[in-house]
């Protein structure tokens, strides 16, 4: 019989097939939908190229240190988030619990966004694209009223996809088509995470690399579109005055933080499957830089396409005016072109001012069209889909675009699900003999059933709530406790020795300074600023109400009190885990110390990775 392997810590834990898989998984987790639809928007509204300054400062002092911390922690302790924090100190076990709860909440709503992407994807195979034409009304004399007053793209999104209700209190009915797509999405997630990293490791090769291919294709296509250069110039022209606004710095800090998917526990889980002698420092820097570069790279095609859309809208506006003028004055066709429009207008205005005023011409301004900035689902499902209709070969572009969004979101989902799956595996909820497939199946099934409430008519309002409250404040709190926990409770000296043992070289002074002082301080400031800004006005939302006077503008509404209570609950639930668990352990310890018959167990487990 051959001797067993020499590594004394052979514990049967699954591991990555190779280092590339691990790096790719981390990158896939970090690079998500936000890189495509939030970063370009922020760049645009915060002074173009000038935004990169606070962005890179935040990356340097907040993003990279926190990322390194999580990766080093997971790699050294070789446990998921709950186990790892319990090992650091049972009083800090709540931090792991909090991460776990946040991962669950985010997985629920994130997959519903992917459901929408899938719905658009399977609808892209039609000719003409269903969001390009308005359906007719009943007596076939004109178009459907709701569609006619807004645009066909808006109609397809709000009516045909979401079937949205005018108010969050009205739940509406379950939309069967969304349920089908939701089931498919969870089935895909189950397929890819069925055996943990064994299967996600294979799937990640596709889902992490494919978006880059599509972005490149869109880049090439986007740059050839007319008006693309206007969009790009508009995006990147730096306006340094915006840096005086503290809002810009806050947005940069929060963007870096959420973009790197910190405090979810997923990164800790990924790193825990690594061999311990791995250079986590280099990994952290690589992942952070690739994430930021991807954001920049993605904003180029996004803005080329937006510039193209603005230019086309501007040309449409001009053309409409030209037609009305030609019809009114009975001038020959093509006498007024876009080039000589302004001269004609001034001539006509001076000679026939009443007639011109009677025409009620809209003033066409390219800047105004470029200024219409959207982020989030509006960018992908309304603005971009409209731009795709205008491109030749729209089906192919639509299919490519939605597959890209789906891969981006799916690779982030892997990280979220790992953040839920790994701690559960370690807590031995299911007996060891039961296969892993069962646990992942149960997780996916339960999540699917809970996520059914997002397919109601009011579903998208609830997703906004989850995004704003469950996916923002708790993460800041958890990250803050993470840094404080490692720096002051576990003690930096001990941690730097562990990291030295793993990477084989001494920790740079940069890490000491950022972990001890800068990152916690920055997180505290960001948290305070974030909360203050949220508290300044009562939480409100914009509703799509066809009966509103200002339709097609969205109606501004305030959340009813019961919804506000749910918002607070969502934000507080993960955060409250931290003090609760600490309190629980304190009470347990007090009771043990009072009862001398009980042998006090080791409260602070000083063992390293083998515990």
């Amino acid at each position: 019989l051959s001797a067993t392997a020499e590594i004394p810590k052979e514990d049967g834990r699954p591991k990555w097939d190779n280092k590339f898989q691990y790096i790719l998984s981390c990158i896939g987790f970090a690079v998500g939908l936000g890189n495509v639809w939030r970063f370009p928007y922020l760049c645009q509204i915060h002074g173009g190229g000038a935004f990169l300054i606070p962005y890179f400062i935040a990356l340097l002092f907040e993003g990279i240190p926190l990322l390194h911390l999580e990766l080093a922690l997971g790699q050294f302790l070789r446990k998921g988030s709950i186990g790892a924090w319990n090992t650091i100190s049972p009083y800090l076990g709540g931090v792991g619990m909090g991460s776990w709860v946040v991962s669950i909440l985010v997985s629920l709503y994130y997959n519903t966004v992917l459901t929408w992407v899938m719905w658009y994807f399977i609808n892209s195979f039609q000719e003409p694209l269903p969001w390009s034409v308005c359906p007719l009304n009943e007596n076939r004399t004109g178009f459907n009223e709701e569609c006619y007053e807004s645009t066909s793209v808006n109609y397809f999104w709000y009516r045909k996809t979401l079937n949205i209700t005018p108010d969050i209190a009205e739940s509406g009915t379950l939309q069967w088509w969304l349920i089908l797509c939701l089931a498919t999405c969870w089935a895909i997630v189950y397929l890819c995470t069925i055996r943990g990293i064994e299967t996600t490791g294979k799937a990640i090769y596709v889902t992490a690399i494919f978006p880059y291919l599509v972005l490149t294709i869109f880049l090439i296509q986007g740059l050839t579109l007319p008006g693309a250069t206007d969009g790009l110039i508009y995006l990147f022209t730096p306006n340094l005055n915006t840096l005086k606004n503290p809002r810009v710095w806050l947005d940069a800090a929060t963007q870096i933080f959420f973009s790197l998917s910190l405090a979810f526990g997923g990164l800790i889980a990924f790193a825990s499957y690594n061999p311990t002698k791995n250079d986590c420092e280099k990994d952290a820097v690589t992942v952070a830089i690739v994430n930021s570069m991807t954001s920049l790279y993605a904003s180029i095609p996004v803005f080329s396409v937006l510039g193209f859309k603005a230019t086309t809208a501007y040309w449409d506006c001009l053309d409409r005016n030209i037609i009305s003028i030609i019809n009114e004055f009975d001038l020959p066709e093509e006498s007024i072109m876009r080039k000589n429009y302004t001269s004609w207008i001034s001539f006509l205005n001076s000679s026939y001012p009443e007639k011109i005023a009677g025409l009620k011409l809209k003033s066409c301004n390219l800047q105004e069209f470029l200024d219409q900035s959207v982020s989030g689902t509006g960018l992908a499902f309304i603005v971009f889909t409209q731009a795709i209709i205008l491109m030749p070969g729209s089906q192919a572009w639509a299919i490519l675009f939605f597959i890209m969004l789906f891969s981006l979101g799916l690779s982030s989902m892997f990280g979220n699900i790992e953040g839920v799956f790994t701690p559960l595996l370690e807590l031995r909820i299911i007996s060891k003999s039961a296969p892993k497939e069962l646990l992942s199946g149960i997780i996916c099934l339960i999540s699917f059933l809970i996520a059914l409430c997002f397919t109601l008519g009011s579903g998208s309002y609830w997703i906004d709530i989850f995004d704003r409250y469950a996916g923002s404040v708790p993460l800041l709190v958890i990250a803050f406790f993470e840094v404080i926990g490692v720096a002051y409770i576990y003690k930096i000296k001990r941690f730097s020795k562990d990291v030295e043992w793993m990477t084989g070289r001494k920790l740079n002074l940069y890490w000491h300074i950022t972990w001890r002082f800068i990152s916690p301080l920055l997180l505290l400031i960001v948290f305070m600023a974030f909360v203050t800004l949220q508290m300044q006005k009562p939480p409100s939302y914009t509703a799509w109400n066809p009966k509103y006077e200002g339709f097609p503008m969205k109606e501004e509404k305030v959340y009813p009190p019961w919804v506000q209570a749910i918002c607070v609950l969502l934000a507080a639930l993960p955060c409250v885990c931290v003090p609760l668990v600490a309190l629980f352990h304190r009470v347990k310890q007090k009771r043990r110390s009072k009862d001398p018959s009980l042998v006090p167990p080791e409260v602070f487990s000083c063992q390293g990775p083998n515990s």
């Binding site: 007719l136 004109g142 066709e333 497939e437």
Partner: protein, 202 residues
């Protein structure tokens, strides 16, 4: 006159681009002929002549007004509703005579019935959805089955290994199999036992 007259607006360049023809007297003649044709088809009486259709106010746009007169009834104009119905019925033919469409050959008071967009019997998206779902379910079943097979193989292997180990299990003492030892020689230490005389007797 305005009640029974209709304004027509034609956009040839928009419709045909480079193949646009010029609007001249011949085209006007064709137009009059088409309107007369429409009136004849609609009212099924062959009394309408081309001369009954009057055009006026032709501009460069190209736009003009036209009325249809009724020669049998003392040069009065045919009521607008009749003209409208006639044109509506034959809109297709009129459009194709000029290689134009409803948008480029506009009769300003006559609304056209819009054709509904083509809808296939099974919505296309259901088909695509079915394909995607089948692939995924096939993948899941494959992975689960291969997982169960691997599990069974591992169980079989581990029970086989246990059986093998039982056969090979030999009593070990200090890492050395007992058969190799000469028991007596192992238990009794020769060095100490040999020199009996050196021990003091009790």
């Amino acid at each position: 006159d305005a009640q029974n007259a209709f304004k027509v607006r034609i956009s040839i360049k928009t419709a045909l681009g480079d193949n646009a023809y010029a609007w001249d007297a011949n085209e006007e003649y064709l137009f009059k002929a088409m309107v007369a044709f429409a009136m004849r088809r609609y009212s099924s009486k062959s009394t309408t002549q081309i001369s009954n259709v009057l055009l006026c106010n032709v501009t460069d746009r190209v736009s003009f007004w036209f009325v249809v007169t009724d020669s049998s009834k003392n040069v009065t104009t045919v009521p607008g509703s009749e003209v409208e119905a006639a044109i509506r019925m034959n809109r297709n033919r009129i459009n194709s005579a000029f290689l134009l469409s409803d948008k480029t050959l506009q009769f300003l008071k006559i609304t056209s019935t819009l054709s509904p967009p083509v809808e296939p019997s099974t919505p296309v998206w259901l088909i695509v959805f079915g394909v995607v779902l089948c692939l995924i379910v096939a993948g899941i079943i494959f992975l689960i089955v291969s997982g169960i097979q691997k599990h069974k193989k591992k169980n079989k292997e581990s029970t086989e290994r246990e059986n093998l180990e039982e056969k090979v299990e030999v009593t070990l003492e200090n890492g050395i199999p007992c058969e190799a030892l000469d028991l007596k020689a192992g238990h009794i230490n020769g060095i100490f036992a040999a020199d009996d005389e050196r021990f003091t007797s009790l």
